[in-house]
């Protein structure tokens, strides 16, 4: 017993006094764990790498993870390259795994559970083994026992992590109930708890003071970072809207709190949003009722009656918003993250940039919008936007069109089709001819094609006109046929 106790103490002392040992062991243990999971050589190698670095960088290991959040915000964080490489390695692993999780998938859940089952069986076998051996090997127990204990601890930890992550995949459906109690970041991060994450997390969970929540958000950041490279092109298409107006703001990172609403939350038809957790409500009264859950200060009759609650409260930390779309410039993990100012900005940004444009203008039947206000704005001007260039660009003002035409060679104003005068075919075709190729200008008998052109507005019709054999009368042809 004494021995046992001592052994135990030693291990604890060791692990707590010298963190060196623990990660090393864990990492050496890792291959088996991963093997079990994926049976992949590559991963083994990678984890081998990690183990190598692990021993070296151990001193900074604990601060490394908490830093990763800021690191993702500020790429120029002065960390040594090894660490970066290390991080990248783990990133790849983690993204691969986490990517499978985000949405609740029963099959994935089943996989996870069966994996857990196997894992538990394995651990059970291991403990059986230890129990069986304990009697046999009594001579030099110190090292062996410590090793065994560490092995079991590691396996247990991974099982716990796995369990939590599995449960985490269910979170989106229950997050509304959670949101009221947990801190915003936790709520947001929790959903994407990666399965099979590195041991680092679980270890930290035990040894470092960093909360589980912050750990998970770290994981998030890592995935986000990785995704940035893949989805880089998305931000090119981003509409220029009012969110850009705040670009000059330039708040130093960390000076404001970042909130990230989920897709469902953004797309909900709410107009009143909780400034603390971001939950949306249809009525302000409901929001005020909700606010009571955030603390006693919101329970006062004044706060409940007056929607203007900011006036009395203490200076609040500036809040900025992040777009939940990974890789978006407005996502907090983007290298050049630009936060969104208000929840309305988030809503409009998300709809404009990442959603289908489902509102079609009833007048022109061509312009589509994802934000209904945009549609209404457009409808106000639709039809009045009559200044059209031959290149297809429309202008609301004549002088803008003429400025455009003055600037570009060969562009001419297009004449809108006149309902009363019948087909506008020939003249429009002429436009295209001019711009596309010079055949038209020397046509002999263009008319046969032009006369039956029915309101040739769209390009297809126009192309048809160009292809018309009549329009390919070149001067050369004509010469020869006349002079023989």
């Amino acid at each position: 017993m004494d021995k046992k106790d001592r052994l135990c103490q030693e291990t604890w002392a060791k692990s707590s006094s010298s963190g060196n040992e623990l990660p090393k062991n864990i990492s050496t243990e890792k291959p088996s764990f991963i093997n079990f999971n994926f049976n992949s050589q590559q991963y083994e190698q990678k984890w081998e790498d990690t183990s190598i670095f692990g021993s070296r960088t151990n001193s900074s290991f604990q601060e490394f993870n908490p830093q990763s959040e800021t690191q993702s915000l500020l790429p120029s964080n002065p960390n040594d390259h090894i660490k970066m490489a290390d991080q990248e390695n783990s990133q790849i692993n983690e993204t691969l795994q986490t990517n499978k999780i985000p949405d609740w998938d029963p099959r994935a859940m089943l996989n996870n559970l069966s994996f857990l089952e196997q894992k538990i069986h394995q651990l059970q076998d291991l403990v059986h083994l230890i129990v069986g051996r304990r009697g046999q090997v009594l001579g030099r127990p110190d090292e062996l026992v410590t090793q065994q204990q560490q092995l079991v601890t590691a396996d247990l930890t991974s099982i716990i992590v796995q369990l939590i992550s599995t449960a985490g995949s269910l979170l989106p459906s229950v997050k509304h109930t959670l949101s009221a109690t947990t801190t915003p970041v936790g709520q947001l991060g929790g959903i994407l708890f990666p399965s099979g994450t590195g041991m680092n997390n679980s270890v930290q969970q035990q040894h470092s003071s960093g909360s589980k929540v912050s750990d998970q958000s770290n994981q998030m950041d890592v995935t986000g970072n990785c995704g940035t490279e893949q989805n880089y092109s998305i931000e090119e298409h981003e509409m220029k809207d009012e969110e850009d107006a705040e670009e000059g703001e330039n708040l130093p990172p960390g000076s404001y709190e970042i909130l990230q609403l989920e897709k469902e939350e953004i797309l909900a038809p709410h107009t009143h949003f909780c400034t603390i957790c971001g939950k949306g409500f249809k009525r302000d009264a409901n929001l005020r009722m909700h606010m009571r859950g955030h603390g006693d200060e919101y329970k006062t009759p004044a706060a409940l009656a007056k929607p203007n609650k900011e006036a009395s409260s203490e200076p609040v930390l500036i809040k900025r918003y992040s777009c939940p779309f990974t890789g978006c410039k407005r996502n907090k993990d983007h290298k050049k993250f630009q936060p969104l100012k208000t929840i309305l900005c988030v809503k409009n940004h998300y709809k404009r940039t990442h959603c289908d444009k489902s509102y079609t203008c009833s007048r022109c039947n061509t312009k589509k919008f994802s934000v209904i206000a945009d549609l209404k704005t457009h409808e106000k001007h639709c039809g009045k936007d009559k200044w059209l260039c031959s290149c297809g660009t429309t202008f609301s003002r004549k002088d803008k069109l003429f400025g455009h035409i003055a600037l570009f060679q060969g562009h001419t104003p297009a004449i809108p089709p006149d309902e009363t005068k019948g087909p506008a075919g020939p003249s429009d075709k002429g436009d295209e001819n001019e711009v596309a190729n010079k055949v038209g200008s020397i046509n002999y008998s263009f008319g046969s094609g032009g006369a039956n052109g029915t309101g040739a507005q769209n390009v297809m019709d126009v192309k048809g006109g160009v292809d018309d054999p009549a329009s390919y009368f070149s001067p050369l042809n004509f010469d020869t046929c006349n002079f023989g």
Partner: protein, 643 residues
Amino acid sequence: MSSESILSVLTEDLLVRINDKLNDELDRKTWRLVCKEFLRVESLARKTLRVLRVEYLSVLLRKYSNIDTLDLSVCPCIDDGMVSLLLSGESEGWALWKLKSLNLGRATGLKFSAMEMLIRACPFLERLDVSYCCGFGDREAAAISCAGGLRELKMDKCLGVSDVGLAKIAVRCGRLERLSLKWCMEISDLGIDLLCKKCPELKHLDVSYLKVTSESLRSIASLPKLEVLAMVACPLVDDFGLQFLENACPLLQEIDVSRCDCLSSSSLISVIRGHSGLRQISAAYCFSELSPAVLHYLKDLKNMSTIIINGACVSDTVFMTMSRYCRSLAEIGLSKCIGVTNMGIIQLVSGCINLKILSLICCHSITDAAISAIADSCRNLVCLKLESCNMITEKGVEQLGSHCSLLEELDVTDCSGINDRGLECLSRCSRLVCLKLGLCANISDKGLFYIASDCSKLHELDLYRTGIGDDGLAALSSGCKKLKKLNLSYCNNITDRGIKLLGYLEELSDVELRGLGKITSVGLTAFAAKCKTLADLDLKHCWNIDDKGFWALAYYSQNLRQINLSYCNISDMALCMMMGNLTRLQDAKLVLLKNVTVAGFELALRACCVRIKKVKLNASLRFMLTEEILGILHARGCIIRWD
């Protein structure tokens, strides 16, 4: 035998050279009629063609395949159907293919699709005239813009053309050198600005009557090659606008700022200062007073030849400055100028001895002294306008007759001092082409006899409200064989005999016979039967002419283009006959025809609706005619004036 020998001597190239010397259309006609060989040479050498009837257009184009200029401005029925017919023929197309100049003036029946076909059929087109196609809009302008090689474009009074249409032309016809946009009321500064950016080759630009502001002048100032700028009646342009021109457009030679109400005479200073090569300044009815300071700047203009300051307030010092500094002046317009005195004119002509054209219309205080000075100094005078200079007597005219032998145009309308003796003196001006004697109450057949006997070159004679009778017309018909235009309105002494004699004037085309109560169908029939060239006839208030006369017109006067039948005793039948039979008729004034019923008008308009371009009717008919006929007329581009 003898004709053969002539042809054997005259080789083809000689014939062509002779043919080239024939400038007069009538001489050419005679030439054509000599023999087939001459006809062949003429048809080969012919470069220009002015078509009078659409029926012959195809034949003519086939015959004259070498033409480079085609004028369809007086040809009725230029419409979409005609164009497609024309383009379906190969040889007609060949003639069009080589066309460099095309005149489609008043082709109101043409729509953009046919217009484009026509333009595309003429790939080498350099000059195009679509003036007075009032219905033309941006689509037609777009069609025009298919002529990329266009250098000269006249689109006066294409009322529908806006900045958009102009932009089409400006962008695609970048080589434009001459452009007239008179009365294209929809065009604004934007269009002009774009034009000036896209057509840097512009030399002549006419923006008269446009609602453009000084901003347009800023754009126009960027044209490096501009020589002539006309901006008559642009009420929004002010002095500030003209200042843009001061150091711009270095080649500017002519500027017309007439009736620009917002300009002061000092604005001219900025234009003059910057352009020593200026040749012509027109500033009629523009500023109330012409300051001597402006004239002071004129001394730098060595090439200055024309100044028109009609309606301005002038003083003798102005004339003194002019005579001192502007010795090369060839034309001065002083119509309705206030302050024109004998002294001033004497001063002026003492310096400006090279004057060719002088207008003193309504300078009431001018007397024989001034006329004598003009006649004495300006021996090269070609055109003198003295309307309403009541103080002039036969003595002044005598001076003109004896000194100004080169005089071609003289306007002494309403100069009561002109009498038969004066006309006798004037007859010494044997080169007279145009003589206006309207309202000269003191002239008679005797005076006209002198004119008729000596002024054989007379083309135009105005005898409005004079005491001329049949004898005078007898003299005219034998002496002034070249007469084309004759105004005999309200010469109440004229009877059928006189009208009958007019038939001997073979070239007569424009005749005004308003208010001649003594002429009847007999005279008109005899006249119409003889005068084949009659194109424009005014019979307003000739109440003694009955249907027989109009039948005769309908039968004989196949070249009639314009007719005024207002207040005539014409019946339904005769009107329908006329309107249906006169296949060149394009303009008819049919006000207050008391014998014509609404049905008659309806039928008459239906009979002519394919070719009529302008018709004047009683306002009351507006709601009595069927919508259908009004719709047809409108669709054909016919303008109806409701009186």
